[in-house]
């Protein structure tokens, strides 16, 4: 196959924003192209245009020098353009095979045979008869890929494919993509992860604020140069001033903490022990799904444990619920902003009232004290730079970054002694990440402590004084962050041992 896909002067304008401003690009088969950009750079719009979901206001697309008019996603499929979206379009309760036959024109037997041969060729092993809900994220993605491959695509577009994958699954995906590319499928890979671009792709197009910034060969680029193009300024990394005068006063001590769950989708924790001193940040690294969520829930009190397993400020609090722990000056920022830390359908000030303890006086004698809550919400918005002045706004209208500032602000404004946060910058743009990082460093400087559970190793290296790695529910030994390298972390996260 010798495929050539050309985008010529494509524009798409939405009220108040130019999503694509006169974009021209050319792709040829045999190579893997990266489309790189921050959230809101216009990558998704461009991809939706290529897959027929959106019709551009201006400009044309050519496939093999013939003009391509896409009126719907079905059109795109017929023209052999396959697309795997970041969020899967699968029916959870139907079986894998049923999901695949839905939009197929072939009869059962032929399709079955075809799927089997695809799976054999690319070394996928998925049980076709089990419901999709029993698959891991990586397997679901494979189902989506198979759905594209059934139609022998000439172009395969992957939209942020690794955001839900483990490292293992990511490397499997990469080798599949390389194989597809060698077989002549043109691959367009959309991402904001620089390392992936460097390791996977041959050429990279960078977009920023709706415009195409540059097109270049990977061999001519470095992570730093790409980052600069993507962000549009020199990356100002916050760095913690490492102080040798940290107090050695113990704040929290976890001893012999174990947890076993009846739910097969949860991870058991095995004999966790650690201490955090005042003014210190303990980072807990690990690939997602290795017990981080369970550990967070135990530390926050959503899962109650043995009373003596958690000693905080000389009190044993393992059996207290989150609200009771807040009275002891602990604060929590969970991973899931939209489904746990905040309620998108509720107003900003109502979300503020979720972190409630006695001295806040949000609720007196069982009645809501709305004025008090609103006053508090206004203070958070101004102290933590949340970009709105309307506390009556439903929080679903805040961007991810602003919502996270609101949540962190809500947790910190009461000046707790310990903040426990789980992936605090997940999915945020660089500006918001920097703000959150600065805030976390600041609270360490005020002699308050942090437990930072994160899957982002750069973040951990930047913010932590001490680092440990969680793998299959076990915590590695705790290392000082200046003796940790990303290589060491990588080995521990993969379940290996270091000296």
């Amino acid at each position: 196959m010798n495929t050539n896909l050309k985008i010529s002067n494509v524009s798409k304008i939405y009220p108040g924003c130019i999503a694509n401003d006169n974009i021209s690009l050319e792709f040829k088969s045999g190579k893997i192209y990266a489309l790189l950009g921050e959230n809101g750079a216009g990558k998704s719009t461009l991809v939706k245009i290529l897959s027929g979901v959106i019709i551009p206001d201006k400009g044309e697309i050519f496939l093999n020098n013939k003009i391509l008019k896409l009126k719907s996603p079905i059109d795109a499929k017929k023209k052999k353009i396959g697309m795997v979206f970041q969020h899967f379009n699968l029916f959870e309760t139907l079986s894998v095979f049923e999901n695949l036959i839905i939009d197929s024109d072939e009869n059962r037997e032929n399709l079955h045979e075809k799927i089997q041969s695809i799976m054999k060729k690319y070394n996928f092993s998925i049980d076709l008869d089990i419901p999709v809900l029993n698959l891991s994220a990586g397997q679901k993605q494979k189902v989506e890929i198979i759905r594209c491959l059934i139609r022998n695509p000439e172009v395969l577009i992957m939209d942020e494919p690794t955001s839900v994958l483990t490292e293992q699954e990511t490397s499997e995906l990469f080798s599949s993509l390389r194989q597809f590319s060698m077989e002549g499928i043109l691959i367009i890979y959309i991402t904001h992860k620089l390392k992936e671009v460097m390791s996977l792709c041959d050429e990279v197009a960078v977009m920023r604020k709706g415009k195409l910034v540059s097109v270049s060969k990977i061999v001519n680029e470095k992570i730093e140069t790409l980052a600069n193009k993507m962000v549009g300024q020199n990356l100002k990394t916050v760095r913690k001033s490492i102080s040798n005068e940290r107090s050695s006063e113990k704040l929290i001590k976890i001893s012999n903490l174990s947890f076993s769950s009846e739910d097969p989708f949860e991870t058991n924790l095995v004999n966790i022990n650690f201490e955090v001193n005042r003014g210190e940040c303990l980072g807990i690294a690990g690939i997602s799904g290795n017990g981080q969520s369970e550990l967070f829930q135990i530390l926050s009190g959503e899962i109650i444990s043995d009373k003596n397993s958690i000693e905080f400020n000389s009190n044993f609090i393992g059996n207290l619920n989150p609200q009771e722990r807040r009275e002891y000056l602990m604060a929590f920022s969970p991973e899931d902003r939209l489904e746990q830390a905040a309620i998108p359908q509720m107003k900003i000030f109502e979300n503020v009232a979720l972190n409630n303890f006695k001295s806040s006086n949000f609720f007196n004698n069982g009645l809501i004290n709305e004025n008090k809550i609103k006053e508090h919400a206004k203070k958070i918005i101004s102290d933590f730079n949340v970009n709105t002045d309307n506390i009556e706004l439903k929080s679903q209208f805040l961007s991810g970054g602003n919502l996270q500032k609101l949540i962190i602000g809500r947790e910190l404004i009461t000046s707790p002694d310990l903040l426990i946060c789980f992936n605090p910058t997940w999915g945020l743009d660089v500006g918001a990440i920097n703000y959150i990082h600065k805030t976390l460093i600041k609270i360490n400087d005020q002699n308050k402590s942090i437990i930072l559970i994160s899957t982002d190793t750069d973040e951990l290296l930047k913010l932590s004084d001490k680092i440990s790695v969680i793998h299959k529910g076990k915590l590695s030994k705790i290392m000082n962050s200046d003796e940790v390298t990303s290589e060491k972390l990588g080995i521990l996260m993969g379940g290996g041992e270091i000296d």
């Binding site: 979901v53 959106i54 019709i55 009126k71 719907s72 926050s300 009190g301 959503e302 619920n321 989150p322 609200q323 009771e324 722990r325 807040r326 929590f332 969970p334 899931d336 489904e339 746990q340 830390a341 905040a342 309620i343 359908q345 509720m346 109502e350 009232a353 979720l354 972190n355 409630n356 609720f363 069982g366 009645l367 809501i368 439903k394 679903q396 209208f397």
Partner: protein, 363 residues
């Protein structure tokens, strides 16, 4: 987000940026309208004149004072139960067994009323009312406790308990509690006048139970929108994970909302037996407990909305009876209408999240 599947289409479905507040309260009205249209169509197919049939169904029954009093009489238990149910539904607890809680409330209060069958005294009625509320609470506590401590599904447990309560009632009115002077009819003695809810207007059946319903409306409005409990219910309704993270005592709340819900259903049961009937018999309720589920959702779990919804749904009970008398249409048509209201309500809820745009043909 805009999805243009095909340019030639005249109608476009567009996702709303945010659910519209006006639509939120308009869709129940739309649902009622569609129910009338579909109902008229059914009557037409059955060979009746649709407008005449609808008139018998929805206008004739409430055209006079007596009819209006009957409307309020039917709306009272519906409103009371629906208010109670909205405590459960708002907080993500699916109590489907209000009919059983009503029946058990009626059994307990009826039992107490029977104890005093030959006595008079101002103290009797309050005791009887209280007994009904307690009976409903006891019965609602079963699914609540099983849910909190044994992780059972409250939908199944509460639903199945409905049939248990009806069989208990059956046994009592046929057996131990049957009227010794009643020639073996399946009913108890008549309660003494002191155990009866007073009638409001001479000659009409509307009784003081309506004040219980109105009190429930006011109290529930206050709890929903002004109290910490209401706030916790709202949070739990949106996300149980968030409620857990906030540290709300989930088990306590489950039991509390079930108790409130059971008390309301129990009080509705009291109203039925101590109001117009004045004794226990086999059928204390024409499925008010189930119909109130429709009322609660038609009223958008909003106390004021529930008042209107209970009036609308109450008409279907009356209409079914008039239609049966004047047109020989089976009275089960009433249930068909109730079902259609729920069906169309769920269907029109689609409009909460999507809007339909009519556009010119692009050729």
């Amino acid at each position: 987000m805009e999805y243009l599947w095909e340019e030639e289409k005249l109608i476009k479905i567009v996702k709303r940026d945010q659910p519209s507040r006006a639509i939120f309260f308009l869709t129940p009205v739309l649902a009622i309208f569609l129910t009338l249209v579909a109902g008229g169509l059914i009557f037409y197919i059955l060979g009746f004149k649709p407008f005449e049939a609808l008139k018998f169904f929805f206008i004739v029954p409430i055209a006079d004072m007596y009819g209006f009093s009957e409307l309020l009489l039917k709306a009272t238990p519906l409103c009371l139960i629906a208010i109670g149910l909205s405590f459960c539904f708002k907080s993500n607890n699916w109590n489907i067994g209000a009919e059983g809680q009503l029946t058990f409330g009626a059994i307990i209060s009826g039992g107490v009323a029977l104890l005093f069958y030959d006595q008079e005294g101002f103290y009797i009625l309050p005791i009887v009312i209280l007994a009904g509320a307690i009976g409903g609470m006891l019965y609602a506590s079963i699914p609540a406790i099983l849910k909190t401590y044994f992780n059972t599904n409250e939908i199944l447990v509460s639903l199945m308990l409905v049939y248990v309560s009806k069989l208990i009632l059956d046994y009592l009115v046929v057996g131990p509690w049957s009227n010794p002077e009643g020639f073996n009819f399946p009913e108890t003695r008549q309660f003494s006048d002191s155990a009866r809810l007073p009638l409001l207007v001479e000659g009409l059946r509307i009784h003081a139970g309506i004040f219980l319903a109105l009190a429930a409306v006011v109290i529930s409005w206050f709890i929903f929108y002004k109290t910490y409990l209401g706030f916790q219910m709202k949070v739990s309704g949106f996300s149980l994970k968030t409620a857990k993270y906030a540290g709300y005592k989930g088990k306590k709340m489950i039991i509390l909302v079930f108790l409130i819900s059971g008390a309301c259903a129990g009080l509705a049961g009291v109203g039925e037996i101590t109001g117009p009937i004045g004794q226990l018999h086999r059928e204390v309720s024409p499925d008010y407990g189930f119909t109130a589920i429709i009322v609660a959702f038609l009223g958008r779990l909003n106390p004021v909305g529930i008042i209107f919804a209970s009036l609308v749904v109450a008409i279907t009970y009356l209409g079914a009876e008039t239609a049966q008398i004047f047109m020989q249409i089976p009275k089960y048509t009433g249930q068909v209408f109730q079902g259609m209201i729920l069906f169309f309500l769920l269907a029109s809820d689609y409009l909460l999240f999507f809007k339909i745009k009519f556009i010119g043909s692009k050729k």
